[in-house]
């Protein structure tokens, strides 16, 4: 990490420490996440960026409690999710997380209202006022006139707004959006981002995973990943890559896809650091055995968990 975040006075809602996620692909171990530390506080609007293969999807899956880390700690709203079983994680997803997907994922057979009511079907709270809450959530995304329409009778922007209403209906502590504007045209993209901004102004914590600089630009903080590590974490206005991009867009130069100078520098620095770390790791470790992989994926041992927890508390 090149810079540290200024102290945020609000309590942290997400605390991630030494988060690792390794996949076994054949004989090789893929390090999708290789030691991520991240704090997200209440009412933050964070964009998580990275090229494909950077680990941002893996991070999003773990943030969304859809997946469990190989090792490390992830505390969401004081719930140590790394210790929970799949069924408890389902409950956490229901109560703490509002998902927004690129492809909306609405049920085509059900009306907007039924779609919004879906998360409440799996919770014991709000049994008697489910319909009222769903209507209120639809009102929040200004879709009161489309309550009984089916998704195929709605435009893309309206569908995504139904999805956002569905994400909001259980009062989640975080809103987790995965490329929320990926399937929308530029005009509706603006609408949806405006909606995010409004929700943020109302006090909602929002995390957007994206690869589009202009979407990320609306967030208050940008976290960048490369090869499973965090390479930068800045408030948007002081993010060098983003500022570079804004400059270039202002001058009307180049496409979004082109790598900026700042990004190139950052990437090469990060790659060098990564290489260095790998070399040191191999130096300290015994040589690879002839049979079987010597690199066992790290595991969450009780000691490591205790260590991380005491760190979080302090």
């Amino acid at each position: 990490m090149s810079t540290t975040q200024p102290q945020n006075p609000k309590p942290p809602i997400i605390q991630i420490r030494r988060l690792k996620k390794y996949y076994k692909v054949g004989d090789e171990t893929v390090r999708a996440l290789d030691g991520v530390d991240l704090d997200i506080h209440e009412n933050e609007f964070v964009a998580i960026m990275g090229a494909s293969g950077s680990g941002k999807s893996t991070l999003m899956n773990i943030l969304g409690c859809l997946d469990k880390p190989t090792s490390g700690a992830y505390v969401l709203n004081n719930k140590p999710t790394h210790k929970l079983g799949m069924s408890q994680l389902a409950r956490v997803r229901n109560e703490e997380i509002g998902f927004i997907f690129q492809t909306f994922e609405l049920l085509n057979r059900a009306s907007a209202l039924r779609n919004v009511m879906l998360p409440m079907l799996y919770s014991r709270a709000n049994i008697f006022n489910a319909k009222k809450r769903a209507k209120k959530a639809l009102q929040q995304v200004s879709l009161t006139d489309r309550v009984h329409h089916r998704p195929n009778q709605l435009s893309g922007g309206q569908r995504q707004r139904v999805a956002i209403a569905r994400a909001l209906v259980n009062d989640p502590s975080i809103l987790l959006a995965d490329e929320p504007t990926g399937n929308l045209d530029s005009k509706t993209t603006v609408e949806i981002i405006q909606l995010f901004k409004e929700l943020h102004a109302q006090g909602q914590t929002i995390i957007v995973v994206t690869h589009e600089e202009d979407v990320a630009g609306h967030a208050k903080r940008i976290v960048r990943l490369r090869d499973g590590r965090m390479i930068s974490d800045h408030p948007t206005e002081s993010d060098p890559i983003h500022n570079d991009w804004v400059d270039r867009m202002a001058k009307g130069q180049g496409s979004q896809a082109q790598v900026t100078k700042a990004e190139h520098k950052l990437n090469s620095d990060a790659d060098q650091q990564h290489q260095q770390a790998l070399i040191e790791e191999t130096k300290t470790k015994p040589r690879k055995r002839l049979f079987g992989s010597s690199k066992k994926p790290p595991q969450n041992t009780p000691q490591s968990i205790n260590e991380i927890e005491s760190e979080i508390k302090s």
Binding site: N61, G64, L66, D67, M86, S87, A90, R91, R93, N94, E95, F99, F101, E105, L107, R109, L118, P119, L121, Y122, S123, R124, I127, F128, R166
Partner: protein, 421 residues
């Protein structure tokens, strides 16, 4: 406060309602497919209810026929064993009144008994003469055993028999054939030249199909009177047991008493024979049971085939809706809940199939019961047991064959499911 108390029930109720509603919507959305899928179940249930109802109807028909004959009745008569044909004559094995009294005294399973004998004689009334009428000699107990009371006059009494009175009972057919009054009591007729007083008219009982159907002229006189007129007639006993359940006891008692009285050695064969309707009923029930078991087997096979169809379509449904499953899981649906959803869907599909099959079966049974040439099936009706069994079975098929796909759905990893194309 009440909200807190009611919440768990409300949660379960709402979930059940939603799941069933969802399943019905799913079936409705794929009407054609659901129909074809449920066809196996429909045919299975249709078959099981129709066959079981038909079988039950036939059973009921046969059993009522038996009942008409009398479930408590049994018959005993003398018989020359096959290996004694050369040394024994039929008169050696003929049952006697002494034996009748012996059985009445010693066999606790016997409620009452009448010896029955018959002879054909010419009968002459005032206006007509019949050359040959079958005259039966009976004891007064006959009325009770055959359940035939007198319409006019009086039944026989013990004294009629003791004193060998020349009295007779007649039935409607006899009155007509002999050209007597509607109430002929007090009139005299000649039987084989002897003068008999008509003391009563015995009712004509609804003859069962086994009994030969057509009512015929009947003349009844006391047993002793007939034996006086002709001591050489054949005799058998009509016996009423205390209940239909003691048939085996009654047989054993009669066998023991008669063998002892006749001084038969253990190696000797019985010199008498018995007929019990209960045995015939048992045999019939055994046959009906076998037919039922075969029908049951066929039905089970067809339901299994239907179940495989259900399993197939549920697997298709699970893979079609992988993304939906992923979404539901992301929204906090726990694996058991997803499992339950698909299980309910399979059960709903099967039960709908079962209900359609039931409706078809009701139609089939209605048609069967009204075919004139199938009189044995005229009382066929849908048995509640068959309905419960068929619906229960189709629900069971849903659970058994829906379990696999439902487990598959419940085990899906939400990340992969959401990424599924």
């Amino acid at each position: 406060m009440t909200g807190i108390l009611l919440a768990p029930f409300a949660f379960i109720t709402r979930f059940l309602w939603q799941t069933v509603f969802l399943a019905l919507a799913q079936v409705w959305a794929n009407k054609m497919r659901s129909m074809l899928t449920a066809l196996g179940i429909i045919i299975g249930v249709w078959a099981v209810i129709s066959v079981m109802s038909g079988l039950n109807g036939m059973r009921g028909f046969v059993l009522t026929e038996f009942e008409k004959f009398g479930a408590k009745k049994m018959w005993v008569w003398g018989r020359v064993p096959d290996d004694k044909r050369a040394t024994m004559s039929w008169s050696d094995v003929k049952l006697s009144v002494y034996e009748a009294n012996l059985l009445l005294q010693r066999a606790p399973s016997i409620d009452s008994l009448t010896p029955v004998t018959s002879n054909s004689w010419p009968v002459t009334a005032e206006k007509k003469r019949l050359p040959s009428v079958r005259v039966q000699g009976i004891w007064p107990q006959w009325h009770e055993i055959e359940d035939r009371q007198v319409l006019f006059g009086r039944p026989f009494s013990r004294i009629d028999d003791d004193e060998r009175r020349q009295v007779c009972l007649i039935n409607d057919q006899g009155i007509e054939e002999l050209g007597l009054d509607t109430d002929p009591t007090g009139e005299y007729i000649l039987i084989s030249g002897r003068r008999f007083l008509i003391v009563g008219v015995v009712e004509t009982k609804d003859a069962s199909n086994f009994g030969g159907g057509q009512a015929r002229t009947e003349l009844l006189i006391p047993f002793a009177t007939l034996k006086m007129m002709n001591p050489y007639t054949w005799t058998n006993f009509t016996i009423q047991m205390t209940s239909p359940d003691v048939s085996e006891d009654a047989q054993a008692e009669i066998r023991f008493i008669l063998r002892k009285h006749r001084g038969l050695e253990p190696e000797d064969k019985d010199t008498f024979n018995m007929f019990i309707l209960q045995d015939e009923i048992k045999q019939f029930n055994a046959v009906a049971g076998v037919i039922g078991a075969i029908a049951f087997g066929v039905v089970v096979i067809s339901l299994v085939v239907g179940g495989i169809g259900i399993m197939n379509i549920m697997l298709v449904s699970v893979s079609e809706r992988t993304r939906e499953i992923g979404l539901r899981k992301a929204m906090g649906a726990k694996p058991p809940i997803v499992l339950f959803q698909f299980l309910v869907e399979a059960v709903v599909l099967c039960v709908i199939g079962g209900l359609v099959g039931l409706v078809l079966a009701i139609g089939t049974v209605a048609i069967l019961a009204n075919i004139p040439s199938l009189s044995a099936l005229e009382n066929t009706e849908i048995s509640k047991f068959a309905v419960a069994l068929a619906i229960g079975f189709s629900a069971l098929v849903g659970v058994v064959f829906g379990m696999g796909p439902a487990i598959k759905a419940a085990r899906l990893n939400p990340i992969d499911a959401l990424r599924h194309e």
